[in-house]
Symmetry: none
Subunit: 213 residues, 4 copies
């Protein structure tokens, strides 16, 4: 019955991942040492190397599941039935923001705000693939919401939209308030931000069409 050992191993690995996630999130990738992670995970620092080739690999293994979960939740939000375009975008944004605030420091790593070393070492790894996937989902959804076809126009709008939610996340990513507290306090503002953008996009559209005539 090797099951018992297997279970122990998975527990240890999970403990390491959990510890690393928490610490990276709290203090940032570079500021956390392998020994700290090990102590938090309740094992020797060498044990980490059984499960992860090195610190960076640990970070990557750590990043993928949350990002995939985020994508799942964003897809759900994007395809919510019986919701207006604005509502869908608001839901999508809330999901994204909540995720970022719930993962704080990690967020900075995921979205390249931090740590050039990480980006340098894995220019086109799975994380980048996931990032791109999120952006595309966002663009697609926005295109539907605005009735815009793929193209430069939509790309520009998507960027602007992304700046907005990225800015929100960045703004609070180092706040001491909990994700929940922040969401409770600021969700109206976030929703309004989305509403403003959508109104602005539409208005711009109308202006241009008027200009054409």
């Amino acid at each position: 019955m090797p099951r018992l050992q297997e279970k122990r191993a998975e527990e240890t690995k999970a403990a390491i991942v959990a510890a690393a996630k928490q610490l990276f999130g709290e203090k940032g990738y570079e500021a956390v040492t392998m020994r700290e992670i090990a102590k938090e995970a309740g094992c020797s620092h060498t044990t980490i190397y059984i499960y992860f080739k090195d610190k960076e690999t640990l970070l990557h293994h750590l990043s993928v599941p949350p990002l995939e979960e985020l994508r799942g939740r964003m897809e759900t939000a994007a395809s919510e039935p019986g919701a207006s375009a604005v509502e869908r975008m608001q839901k999508l944004s809330r999901v994204f923001i909540e995720f970022c605030l719930g993962n704080r420091g990690l967020y900075g790593i995921f979205f390249g705000v931090n740590s050039e070393r990480v980006d340098t070492a894995s220019p086109s790894s799975e994380i980048n693939r996931l990032r791109l996937g999120l952006f595309n989902l966002l663009r697609r959804t926005l295109g539907e919401a605005l009735g815009l076809p793929d193209g430069e126009r939509l790309l520009a709008c998507s960027r602007i939209y992304f700046y907005q939610i990225h800015g929100i996340a960045a703004t609070y990513s180092h706040s001491k308030e909990s994700a929940d507290a922040l969401m409770e306090r600021l969700t109206p503002t976030f929703d309004e931000a989305v509403a403003v953008l959508m109104l602005g996009f539409n208005a711009l559209q109308s202006n241009k069409e008027v200009g054409k005539q």
Copy 2:
């Protein structure tokens, strides 16, 4: 003649600050070593400790002048005569963004995107005062541009506006492209972002007024 020495000292200090500013900006706070700064400044690394207690203190002394310069430039942009509301906001934003992209690594430190260590050490120091000043300037200018009085309404709009420009800065703050290249390539998008927001703010306003009637 202590004047001569004083002058030399002042020069050395300035050289250190300049070197540190450049290097922190280029590579980020953690990635720069005291020896690098000293080499760039043309002095011994021990000399730095004559003027600054430690690396962190150096960083803080370093942050204030650029932020004050930024405020100056933003004030100029905000009070540009013969410019429409949107144009003024666009100019303001360009100034802010260009500053952030021109100072990269530093930007992250100024605006708390990075390195909680720094924040921890100076919870509400002069930097925070400056940050707040910038935000107020922005709010005032936006209030004038939108014809809105101080209050919750304007605060919310200001936040949304800040998210946007902060998001822009954050998005490109780790790009390999130079500030100039980025500005050249993306200024239209940035301007459009501002335009969209202004249109959105106004549209929202109209909606609400309509609702009131």
Copy 3:
């Protein structure tokens, strides 16, 4: 049926020895890890410790059979019928050199070129006995070839002869070329080296005899 287990055990042990031999030979003692050996042997690294107290013990158990095989081959070469004295010595040398080049890293260990740690641990163990045996075989053969009785004279000649072949082995023991390639390329030189020595020994002999007269 403990036989079956015994056999399996024997096989595992043999696999370990074979793997260690190959890897030590290829990369040198220090550069090989227990895990590498285990992987090559197709077992867990802990299994090695069932059969061998530690890495060093493994090395020692490993050294004996090849050395005995070498002695066998050298004895065969030494007693080859219908060969001239020089030819016998050349064959003997080729056998020795080929063995050394075919075992590279191991050779250094066998003949104390490397790693005093090993020597320290077993100052006059079985390996030394074997080494001495080889040298005696060599001396005996050389004595016959030169028509010299045991004694200082023969001892000196044997040493000189040993230096030569040891020098050959040492020279190429870290070359990147394969044993086969080296043998093919350099056998003429090696043979000539032996021929030169034999000529020299004989000439020296003649000189001395002339001197005596």
Copy 4:
């Protein structure tokens, strides 16, 4: 007066080099740690990194002066006036052997008996240049001694000659006896080895010439 500091620095550097030379010689490159060297040199291990980029650089800086000294001594021996060909070669060999025995472990590193890592990392560094220079000196001297022109013939003889002295060095390179003791005890044998080779080379030459006729 920075002279005092400068002197201290050179003393420290010299102490490091001396300690490293001794320890590398005694235990081999890989087996010696930077901390050991530092302790022996009477400084902190970080101090070493002030003077040498890394362990390998330390080794190289360490290797060059002895090798150059060796070349000098060999050149002197090679051009000794009023000495027969054999005597010159014997002197040359004694110089080489004495150097090797006096530098033991280091010898293995210089002549590639040890540590593939070292060779790999600096395939054509200054050390290799020096090695080649020694071999050429040896070949030239041997050519003069044998009256042989440059060419395959001389190259083969040089190789054989090199094997011999390399073999001598290798044989005793891990002996516990001091260089002096070994030289005293074995110089006659070493000289005889050279004499035998020279006799052999000449005899071979005669044989071939006879064969040609």
